[in-house]
């Protein structure tokens, strides 16, 4: 998976920000599809998850929510659930918004080779998807 960069050079697609007890990830993206893609890659990187090129299966996932913040949290929760119960990373092939608060993605489930750290949950703490000059921005706090 390759993160989607915004036009503005220097605005990273995601980076870790200071949080005393847990992890916080700032995500920048031009639109909601890229926000979900960048957040997924950022979360996997925080956990230092490694996979090979092996493929368990191709699948389609669909997430529906009541607003964009809930969509972002539910999307990341879906990836975490698959990581814990099936021990797979969902490698995103294609991602498309169905409507403002629903997304559909084509993914390849790749078995995990190693993982250094755990995320217990994705929180709503202070979560707001804000409009920026070049797109949108959010900061997600993970309970670790």
């Amino acid at each position: 998976m390759i993160p989607y960069y915004t036009e503005n050079v220097g605005e990273l697609p995601f980076f870790e920000v200071e949080h005393t007890a847990d992890w916080a990830l700032r995500i920048n993206a031009p639109n909601m599809e890229s926000m979900l893609l960048n957040a997924a890659i950022g979360m996997y990187q925080l956990m230092e998850v490694k996979t090979g090129n092996q493929k368990e299966n191709d699948q389609s996932i669909e997430i529906k929510a009541h607003d964009r913040e809930e969509l972002l949290v539910s999307w990341l929760e879906e990836l975490l659930f698959n990581l814990e119960t099936r021990e797979v990373v969902l490698d995103i092939n294609d991602i498309e918004m169905i409507n403002e608060y629903s997304v559909k993605a084509q993914v390849i489930a790749r078995p995990v080779k190693s993982m250094e750290k755990q995320i217990k949950a994705v929180t709503y703490h202070g979560l707001q998807i804000e409009q920026t000059e070049n797109g949108i921005r959010a900061t997600v706090v993970f309970d670790v």
Binding site: E16, V17, E18, H19, T20, A21, D22, W23, M47, E48, H66, E69, E70, V73, S74, E77, F81, L83, E84, T85, E87, V112, M115, E116, K117, Q118, K120, A121, V122, T123, Y124, H125, G126, L127, V141, D143, V144
Partner: protein, 483 residues
Amino acid sequence: MIRKQDIKRISDVKWEIPKSYRDDMRVPVQIFADERLLEAALGDKSLTQAVNASTLPGLVSHIIVMPDVHQGYGFPIGGVAATKLPDGVISPGGIGYDINCGVRLLSSLIPLDAAEPFLDDLATSLYANCPSGVGVKGSVRLSLKQLEAVCRIGSEWALKNGYARAEDLPSTEEGGKVPGADPSAVSERAMARGRPQLGTLGAGNHFIEIDVVEEIYHPEGARAMGLLEGHLALQIHCGSRGFGHQVCSDYVRELQGAVRRYGIQLPDRELVCAPLSSPEGKRYLAAMTCAANYAFANRQVLAHHARRAFEQVLAGKTRDFDLHQVYDIAHNMGKIEEHVVDGQKIKVCVHRKGATRAFGPGFPGLPEKYRAMGQPVLVPGSMGTASWVLLGTEESMTQSFGSSCHGAGRVMSRKRAKKSIRGDALRSKLQAQGIRIRARSMPGLAEEAPHAYKDVDAVVDVVVKAGIAKKVAKLRPLVVIKG
């Protein structure tokens, strides 16, 4: 950000943010801290989070902030909030994702000098017997029916299945079985996560630690707990694993709608809640109770594995190799309790997030051996520093809803901690201090470096000076098993 001048000094160890600080506060915030710990709390968003928590409907008295407070999500870690029944709210974010994360302490009659030659073997055996690390599955694989039984009866399930001794259960908060659990309130996803994980430690700040009892401060209390100076003790710190994480995630999402339906205004979506009398509030409480019971059973199975590890290494080598349960306490929990507020005894839901129940002498629910002196309060340190065993007091009942601190409390972010030291260097440093480390993840170990935490001795001094706990014993780490 809250400034020091916004805070009123009540005593050397007690401070208050008055209700007038922000229009939406329903109760003041009281902080237990000395000057230095207060400065540390002002260094992150923990006090802002406590002020946010003070806006919840149905709160009584104060929000209480413990000296080990640090920034969390929604509520601060180290916060206590009590809401009045029937219409006060219950907030999953005020309890946390790791429902009934807690600590279990076991004592022994094994003198350090007899065990010293075998500490490396004990470390290796504990590491092998107690599954730890990210996404690890345990040796107990539960069917759905068995998991439902764990939800309902917690530690009693462990007893029925050979993972506990009868005497372990009374020495567990709530006897290891909180009433009111309803597995039908738990999602299929939570069940799927819970089935393979019973008897596992997990990762993050969870640990198993062999300590030596270094100093006794309260001989009568130590005697009742079986703690002998110069002898080994064992701590287990973990919670309800993926099962509890999923229960909380499910209800934080579900209650987003409830706050709209009940017209509750909140400064942070992570504080979502529902009235305790509402169908949503009742369902969450029933599901949370399932996770609480799962956590009691989880620590019980781990204690069983630890006993086996001690037997494997020490049988025939030391006169005694047994581990006796001192107590097991929760520090992320919502409990329905009776407390006196404004001279009246009322029923409240006490949210303790990173805070330990610390009931004083004579309170119902305490085991016979502790009833006259108050309950043991277990305050683990930070891998390289001391841990403390305390006793709850009568004053904790009047000052802090029968609660005390739960640990050292972080002061440095994980990001900065792992930049400050490499995991392997930290392991060598601790080993040079005589602390044997077994850890699955070196980056994970670095994030948990002792210097990322506050001074646990200073934290304990505050709760003792405030009168909400008494010192019983100080423990020094010898072996640390991390996920």
